[in-house]
């Protein structure tokens, strides 16, 4: 399923027009990203949570030249499926 299909389905199952559904879906996704950017985790009951994980700095390699490059430490978004989702997917 793509974002367009998600929008379609949300519109079909609510009183929203396709255009409105698009705005709403985008608002939800943007809010999650915005929250992570500010360092706040997002916990959605029955679905899962988005939080940040730290990646340590490491020495990488340029795959083309083999040259060593320093890759700085960074934070990456991480999604942890909720208990509900975890169990349902295996039943």
């Amino acid at each position: 399923m793509t974002k367009a299909q998600l929008v379609e389905r949300v519109a079909g199952n609510s009183s929203l027009t396709r255009k409105e559904a698009e705005v709403v879906v985008q608002a939800v996704l943007d809010s999650i990203v915005h929250s992570l950017k500010s360092g706040t985790k997002v916990e959605l009951r029955g679905f899962g949570s988005f939080r940040l994980r730290n990646r340590a700095a490491r020495i990488g390699r340029n795959p083309k030249t083999g040259a060593k490059v320093h890759v700085p430490a960074k934070r990456v978004p991480y999604f942890k499926p909720g208990k509900d989702l975890k169990e349902l997917i295996n039943s």
Binding site: V10, S14, V28, I32, E43, F47, I89
Partner: protein, 88 residues
Amino acid sequence: MVKADLARAVYETHGGLTHQESKEVVKLILDCIKSELLRGKNVKLSGFGSFRVISLKARRGRNPQTRAQMRLGPSRRVTFRPSRLIKV
């Protein structure tokens, strides 16, 4: 941040929905994604990331408390890969 905060964002962005309707639509969005994943389908949301269902093979594990060895059956798991467009 929890579902209610997302509902508030929807309420403010859309303008024409009640708080209750905003709450319901947030739930609807999450349920749509969830049901797709439960059917074993991937969900790709451009500019955000993609949710994938991966299958894990049966493997041996240990109960960390008793250290007893046990067999873990094959299972499925949802993983998320953030879009490269989102920098945090």
